[in-house]
């Protein structure tokens, strides 16, 4: 087996490798691999079934879209097209199944395209509750988790005990707590941990076995806390809109180099979607369902009883940001819809904002960088 990635370059190589070497190794070792399409999927259940959960995030520009062109129109986001391309090119051969959820119409229908084109794989579509205010939302979601578990059990030919489920929920909970610590560092001392580094550390958690990633995070956190970097005169920004398709790492670095501390973001949000610690209730699946219904992260793909605009203002004020950067994927409807009310409340509150759009295959970063530089300068020197 490969060892844990040691350097930032190792992490980047791992995240950008669209041949999924760790998934292939797992498969070659006789295990099963289940992938998930963003944003969130309850991968604790996959872990409990003894399978390797892998969080897919498209190809990040790592493949040319050719075969997928005949099956998905050009007005659809890159991540959808590239994920299908990975499948059609055989890059997902190690995967025994894929999990999709109701984040948007495109992702939902992509599940159907996968089901038809890959009849040998398990394609599970979970309809996660959007009416989180309903008294039945937890029951309903528990039912969806049981359905997923039943599919995985059929695949494995054996039951998954409650103890195993509880163990997996605890393993993921421990991991999320460490990820939260990374974000705490970013919010309090962003000069210690650049956003792109934190991002790579979190993304690795979607590719490595969870226990191994937890160990990686412990080592990384100790290292980060020991750093002696000094604070620089940079703008504190909140980056939102990248909860599904991920911006190129070069763009993230460009934003930071242009004079920003990204003190919080929604990058790879699915890996930390349950924000609050879980309250165990004796039934691990119900615990997880409650965690989703009562403690999900704010995102454009999940309805919240409280208006999202209130969340944004509260978050921006709590983090004392100088501005908000909307960093949205081309054609990403949920993010593009929310942009308008978000921008309105920010304008009203006197919080500057900027909108930058990206695509997986983008290669010219200068324009975006210049935009951010101008934005940072105008805010810092006003």
């Amino acid at each position: 087996m490969s060892g844990p990635p040691g350097t930032l370059e190792d992490l980047r190589s791992l995240v950008e490798d669209v041949t999924f070497p760790r998934a292939r190794e797992w498969k070659e070792g006789g295990g099963k691999v289940i992938g998930s399409f963003p944003v969130y999927a309850p991968m604790e259940v996959v872990h409990a079934a003894g399978m390797l959960p892998v969080y897919l995030f498209g190809a990040g520009g790592g493949v040319e879209i050719e075969a997928a062109d005949s099956r998905i129109q050009s007005f659809v986001c890159s991540i959808t097209r590239s994920t299908l391309e990975l499948g059609l090119r055989g890059n997902l051969e190690a995967f025994d199944g894929l999990v999709f959820t109701n984040i948007c119409d495109v992702a939902r229908n992509l599940s159907g395209i996968f089901a038809r084109n890959f009849p040998g794989k398990l394609v599970e579509y979970l309809h996660l509750p959007q009416n989180v205010g309903s008294s039945m939302a937890v029951d309903y979601m528990t039912g969806e988790l049981r359905r997923l578990l039943a599919s995985l059990q059929r695949m494995n030919g054996g039951p998954v005990t409650r103890e195993r489920l509880a163990h997996s929920v605890a393993v993921f909970e421990e991991n999320r707590a460490l990820v939260r610590q990374l974000y705490e560092v970013r919010a309090t001392a962003p000069w210690l941990l650049p956003a792109h580094e934190a991002y790579l550390l979190v993304r690795a958690g979607g590719l490595l076995p969870k226990e191994e990633h937890t160990q990686l995070l412990r080592t990384a956190l100790a290292d980060i806390r020991a750093r002696t970097n000094r604070s620089m005169d940079k703008m504190r920004i909140l980056l939102i809109g990248s909860f599904c398709e991920q911006p190129p790492i070069t763009l993230l670095r460009g934003i930071e180099d242009a004079g920003c501390y990204v003190v919080d973001d929604d990058l790879a949000l699915g890996l930390r979607f349950i924000e609050r610690p879980l309250a165990a209730n004796g039934d691990p699946l119900r615990t997880l369902a409650e965690g989703f219904v009562r403690g999900a992260a704010n995102s454009s793909v999940c309805h919240s009883v409280r208006p999202k605009t209130e969340w944004l203002l509260e978050r921006a004020r709590a983090l004392r940001v100088n501005g908000v950067l909307f960093c949205t994927a081309k054609f990403c409807e949920p993010a593009l819809y929310d942009y308008v009310p978000y921008k309105q409340v920010l304008d009203k509150a006197g919080i500057p904002s900027l909108h930058v759009e990206f695509e997986e295959k983008m290669t010219a970063f200068e324009q975006a960088r210049t935009q951010v530089e101008t934005f940072a300068e105008s805010v810092l020197f006003e």
Binding site: R108, L110, R116, Q130
Partner: protein
């Protein structure tokens, strides 16, 4: 074959509908000032029977958007919304609605009232949620999200029905609190009985397209005839309307009259029409003698022909099943199977897909349908692209070339015996 004029005369069914819609929009104009409650709803899977129990006026922003498209004001509305910050890549219906709001809700068919309650019947379209979240932000109106699970297997799951029924109970409480009207199960059953009656009649009409020639175009005309069942379902006048249309279509059948002088090709159409260029688009098919014998867009308000029905004997359960059983809430395999059955049952020569950028709920998966229909089922399939609301996406010359080439090849195949 009996010759008729190329354009169907403005017959009585159409005149009647015009009067009904004028009355509907007329009542909306004064709703706010009279203090009458207004609920906004979406078309697919809506629960209007329930809001009728509380005397809500029903406003359907999708209907307003398509009307604006036909009246050629959608383009201006869309530009207004884009000036506010909406992207050129999001749904034209949403932008039309926001643009209409920015124009003080003054439409060519009257002033649209503000919402008191936004009932987001989330059936087969995530954009619905974003749309009404935005309206809740702009208007400060009460929002209720009716979460309708996607049909993810072969049918609706029991747990899904229970979840929706519980939400209906919660919605009833909210409606009672807002209007001060006590919920009446008896009244709901009466309304549902009228819905069912109209649904039965509508299905009888749709099935007449199995005749040769088809007495009407089951896309270009059916999307017109579907308006009352989408807007006025549950009312007596809606039932009367379909009784009238059925009689009219039976007469057309008896007279062997159809929408074109000679029916040369029978097609099944998938996807919404380009409302701002509706006539021009229809002409591209008429000139080939192509008649739609079945379509999916005419079923967005309810998949009644495969059997979905409101049922006064099972009021809440049947509302839940209807709401989840809307076309875009079906998974792609079920959608493809329905299209295949339409081709068989209506003896169609081809499948035509009109893919619209605005509505990814409809359009993502259509290219894969084409792969399946052409390569695996051997059914000739044409896929063309434009938009349902945004007039800027309609490239007539390009569409004409594609459509002409397709029917030329169908003609050729027929001559050479390649097509039965």
């Amino acid at each position: 074959m009996t010759a008729t004029a190329t354009t169907v005369p403005q017959d009585a069914g159409k005149t009647l509908q015009r009067d009904m819609l004028a009355k509907y929009y007329g009542a909306l104009e004064t709703a706010n000032e009279k203090g009458e409650p207004v609920a906004y709803l979406f078309i697919p899977g809506n629960i209007v029977e329930l809001t009728r129990c509380f005397d809500f006026h029903a406003v359907y922003p999708e209907i307003n958007a398509l009307q604006c498209g036909i009246k050629k004001v959608a383009g201006d509305n869309i530009v207004r919304a884009e000036d506010l910050g909406y992207s050129s890549d999001v749904c034209g219906y949403v932008k039309n609605d926001v643009g209409l709001m920015l124009a003080d809700r003054q439409s060519p068919f009257g002033k649209i009232p503000k919402p008191d309650l936004l009932v987001c019947n989330y059936s087969g379209c995530n954009t619905f949620i974003k749309w009404f979240e935005a309206l809740a932000h702009f208007y400060g109106s009460e929002f209720f999200l009716l979460d309708l699970p996607y049909v993810r297997g072969t049918g609706i799951l029991d747990g899904d029905v229970a979840y929706v029924v519980e939400q209906l109970r919660e919605l009833i409480e909210r409606c009672e609190a807002r209007t001060g009207i006590a919920f009446s199960e008896v009244r709901l059953r009466e309304i549902l009985a009228r819905s069912r009656e109209a649904e039965e009649l509508w299905v009888q009409i749709l099935r007449l397209a199995q005749e040769r020639p088809s007495p009407f175009d089951s896309y270009f005309e059916a999307v017109f005839y579907m308006a009352p069942i989408n807007i006025l379902r549950g009312t007596r006048e809606c039932v009367d309307y379909y009784r009238h249309v059925l009689a009219e279509m039976q007469t057309r059948r008896d007279d062997r009259r159809g929408p074109v002088p000679e029916e040369k090709f029978r097609i099944v159409v998938e996807g919404p029409p380009p409302w701002p260029h509706f006539r021009a688009f229809w002409e591209l098919f008429k000139r080939w003698g192509a008649v739609a014998v079945a379509s999916t867009y005419s079923k967005v308000g309810g998949l009644y022909d495969p059997g979905v029905r409101h049922d006064p004997a099972r009021p809440r359960e049947s509302i839940a099943e209807y709401a989840m059983g809307s076309y875009t809430n079906w998974n792609l395999a079920k959608r493809a199977d329905l299209l295949r059955r339409y081709v068989e049952e209506y003896e169609a020569d081809a499948l035509v897909i009109h893919s619209v950028k605005s509505c990814r709920s409809f359009s993502v998966g259509q290219a894969d349908f084409r792969e399946e229909f052409v390569n695996e089922l051997g059914i000739p399939t044409l896929m063309v692209e434009s938009d349902l609301a945004d007039p800027r996406y309609f490239q007539e010359a390009q569409l004409r070339n594609r459509i002409d080439a397709f029917f030329e090849s169908l003609t050729q195949r027929r001559l050479t015996g390649a097509v039965a």
